[in-house]
């Protein structure tokens, strides 16, 4: 299991478009992906779940990846979250 905290650096936060990008990436991996904000955990492969976090610019999100391909998944998804576009 891999876990890290990421500060969201996207001008309008983690809105529908970047969230969809994240989910598309996450679904390519077999590992379980979870995201958390303010202690609330949601499924990282579900667009609506991620949007319920309403993670604004500057907020801290926890990424957790667990499974057989977690190494690659973790790197790829962490990069997606850290991406500032």
């Amino acid at each position: 299991m891999r876990r890290c905290e990421v500060v969201i650096r996207k001008a309008v936060g983690l809105h529908a478009r970047p969230a969809a990008d994240f989910v598309r990436k996450a679904e390519r991996f077999k590992s379980k992906v979870r995201l958390a904000k303010d202690g609330v955990w949601v499924n990282g492969k579900s667009i609506l779940s991620i949007l319920t976090l309403a993670a604004e610019n500057g907020s801290v999100v926890v990424l957790e990846v667990k499974g057989e391909d977690e190494k690659e998944a973790f790197e790829a998804l962490k990069a997606k979250l850290e991406d500032d576009t």
Binding site: A16, E27, D38, G39, V40, W41, V42, N43, K45, S46, I47, L48, S49, L51, T52, A54
Partner: protein, 330 residues
């Protein structure tokens, strides 16, 4: 919607119920944010005022009404100040004075000295206690987030679970199309009320974000926009879990309905029905039957048991031949 972390500060209580309960801060405002309420039970400190502090429920809110204050007025000045000092020293989260009563100045001085909040309401004691306990029971309820959909089907709260992509959302949309009501898609917030009731809400932070469904290939669908107010609900009791699973060879599924599986959520057990998903299956129809079956069982009629009982009666006795069939010459 408020969070349910199992504790709130006295400041939270004051800001959330200030208007509704006519609550005011009487003294000890410094302690509003570092005094926590962790239980929905309350205490009336009569025994402590009378001098007995062997058992004092210090984690509870202390409600001071006219009984306490009338008794307090009978004490001599010296006894009174010692009593109040001892009471504040016990360190409850806060005191709340009801009926808009005025507290003797020594209470207010001690409150400031200990930075221990004292609130005042104009409400009568008993109705206030009832409202306070109900509110705290809701506010302090344990909560859990569940990956699934919650739909009100014929008045029964069905929690649809199963792995990603199995068709939970499509199933929920189909149910809405048939006239049922969506509470939450994808992320359901469940809290426990009292000892045995689970209430489900959308995990979305605003009611606008709730009531959207993701349909693969289409995107985010606005259920309120498409179906109107009749298609949505803000909250619903969670009564049955319907678990959707991929049909696998060699796996056992319930064939009669006599055996009942249970799911445990926040320590509350609810019936669980496992449905194998195969292409072409009308899941919404199956879920409607699950809901109606549940209502029948709640009413004391268990279809599978009644069926089996009748079957056993037939096997044990000589067969009863229906005259309608024997007399029919056609």
């Amino acid at each position: 919607m408020s969070d349910h972390s199992g504790k709130i500060t006295v400041g939270n209580l004051l800001s959330e119920k200030e208007k509704e309960w006519d609550l005011q801060l009487a003294a000890g405002g410094q302690g509003l944010d570092n005094h926590f309420i962790v239980t929905s039970d309350i205490n009336r400190p009569g025994m402590a005022l009378a001098g007995y502090t062997g058992v004092f429920l210090r984690e509870r809110i202390q409600i001071v009404g006219s009984t306490e204050l009338t008794y307090f007025a009978t004490l001599s000045n010296k006894t009174a100040s010692g009593t109040v000092r001892r009471l504040f020293g016990l360190g409850p989260p806060c005191f709340i004075v009801t009926k808009g009563l005025d507290l003797p100045s020594i209470w207010l001085e001690e409150a400031e000295h200990h930075s221990l909040p004292v609130l005042r309401t104009t409400m009568d004691t008993t109705p206030f206690i009832h409202r306070l306990c109900a509110y705290l029971d809701y506010r302090l309820a344990p909560e859990n987030h569940i990956h699934g959909d919650l739909v009100d089907v014929f008045g029964v709260g069905l929690l649809i679970t199963g792995e990603s992509g199995i068709g939970k959302s499509e199933c929920a949309l189909d149910l809405v199309d048939r006239g049922h009501r969506l509470v939450a898609d994808d992320a359901v917030k469940v809290i426990r009320r009292g000892t045995g009731i689970l209430m489900g809400y959308s995990a979305a932070k605003t009611s606008f974000l709730a009531h959207h469904i993701e349909i693969r290939g289409v995107g985010i669908v606005d259920v309120y926009g498409l179906y109107g107010i009749r298609a949505i609900r803000v909250q619903k009791r969670v009564e049955v879990e319907v678990q959707l699973v991929h049909r696998k060879q060699g796996m056992d599924y319930e064939r009669v309905g006599l055996e009942e599986q249970l799911s445990e959520i926040l320590g509350v057990r609810i019936p669980r029905v496992t449905i194998p998903v195969v292409p072409g299956k009308n899941l919404a129809l199956v879920l409607e039957v699950i809901a109606k079956n549940h209502v029948l069982k709640v009413f004391g009629y268990h279809p599978a048991k009644v069926f089996n009982k009748e079957l056993m009666r037939l096997m044990n006795k000589s067969p009863r031949i229906d005259p309608f069939i024997t007399d029919d010459q056609e």
